[in-house]
């Protein structure tokens, strides 16, 4: 019983981080919270498959990422292709200098949302969530070289979108 209540407490403690990751993956806040809720529900149902002592955060992130692929990827892909044109044009053409002291958070989030899914998840896990390359390669079942090359492409594209070189 103590084990199960601590599972829920630990999951509750992870909620803010899971939401942050959901906001990287999804393109709007409502989708992000739907994804977070689905992740919690799946985690609670699958708790027997979590090994106490192992990292609950990696386990939960993995659930979230897989759910996102299952349920939202087709929609996300679609919305990339259908992204409003003027939005695409705005990104990267903002007259302000990218390294301006007033950081344009909205702009970088929009740039993030324009990355291809497979680059965005790697960028989010490593640069935003702070996981190591090895952890991400295990979480996503990808060779570490693939993680590394997607990270290069994602970052390079982001930098091109948010600022002049």
């Amino acid at each position: 019983m103590d084990q199960s209540s601590s599972f829920e407490d630990q999951l509750a403690a992870l909620l803010p981080r899971l939401r942050r990751f959901a906001h990287s993956l999804s393109r709007d806040a409502a989708d992000a919270d739907d994804l977070t809720q689905a992740t919690i529900e799946r985690a609670l149902r699958s708790r027997d498959r979590w090994q106490p002592g192992s990292r609950l955060d990696s386990w939960s992130y993995r659930i979230m990422r897989n759910l996102w692929i299952d349920t939202a990827r087709s929609r996300s892909r679609k919305s990339v292709h259908e992204a409003p044109e003027e939005e695409g044009l705005n990104v990267g053409k903002d007259p302000r200098h990218a390294m301006d002291a007033s950081i344009d958070l909205d702009r970088i989030m929009r740039a993030m949302s324009q990355l291809p899914d497979e680059q965005r998840e790697v960028v989010a896990l490593i640069l935003v969530e702070g996981f190591g390359y090895r952890e991400v390669s295990e979480m996503l079942d990808l060779p570490i070289g693939t993680v590394s090359s997607r990270l290069v492409r994602g970052r390079t594209a982001l930098l091109a979108m948010v600022g002049e070189q």
């Binding site: 209540s5 909620l15 609670l44």
Partner: protein, 231 residues
């Protein structure tokens, strides 16, 4: 690893000490590379700055309830150990007193027939709630009144939880009537559907916990109890 990958791995602290030292020397000797590294450092900071506010933003309530009520409903024994509540009589009286306000305020059905009535200082189920408690099984399709758990209380009396619109409660058999032991309104703005999705009201769960002896009835026991007139 390509040179680009190596540069980023260096920024991310993923290189071995020897490789990192070599990369550092290379960046120091190459102004263009140094500028690129600086731009990417700044980009990384911006990215974190953009998403970090989510960490401190309030977590929407629906995400919190997705975690909490489930524990209370599933595991009454653990919930009981975790909480110390007033003993049942005061608690039930308190709940029943609160219930009056709820009923007068929100719950009097427009088509007549209040869900409870007061008799001899006690509150009894009436109308649709009374009928549901008498006849309806938990497995019945959703109607105006839903039945939840059925179990025996401390004096051996049969008790049942019910919900109607945005309120849920507990009633136990007293003679040939259903005495309401507690009735709880959903928090402001949360309708019945929300409640059903979120699980049992935590206050009701506590009352059930302090009332129940043994386990909740399964479907067969529930049916048998009904056939025996809830004795």
């Amino acid at each position: 690893m390509t040179e680009d990958e190596k540069l980023f791995a260096w920024l991310d602290g993923e290189l071995s000490p020897a490789e990192a030292a070599a990369m550092e020397a290379k960046v120091a000797a190459d102004p263009a590379l140094a500028k690129l590294a600086e731009q990417h450092r700044e980009l990384d900071n911006q990215l974190r700055g953009a998403f970090d506010p989510i960490l401190t933003a309030p977590v929407p309530e629906r995400l919190q309830v997705a975690l909490k009520p489930q524990a209370e409903v599933i595991d009454f024994a653990a919930a009981k150990r975790a909480r110390a509540w007033p003993s049942l009589p005061q608690w039930a009286a308190m709940a029943a007193t609160l219930a009056i306000g709820v009923l007068v305020g929100d719950q009097v059905p427009r088509n007549g027939g209040a869900p409870v009535e007061v008799q001899g200082g006690k509150i009894y189920a009436a109308g649709a709630v009374d009928q549901a408690l008498d006849a309806q099984l938990a497995s019945a399709p959703s109607r105006d009144v839903r039945i939840g758990l059925t179990f025996r209380g401390r004096a051996g009396e049969i008790c049942r939880t019910f919900s109607q619109r945005a309120a849920s409660g507990l009633a136990c058999r007293n003679g040939d009537r259903w005495q309401v032991r507690g009735l709880f309104a959903a928090p402001e703005g949360q309708g019945a559907d929300y409640r059903m999705a979120a699980g049992m009201d935590p206050n009701l769960a506590s009352l059930v916990d302090s009332t129940m002896t043994g386990d909740a009835f399964d479907a067969a026991q529930e049916k048998a109890a009904r056939n025996k007139g809830w004795r």
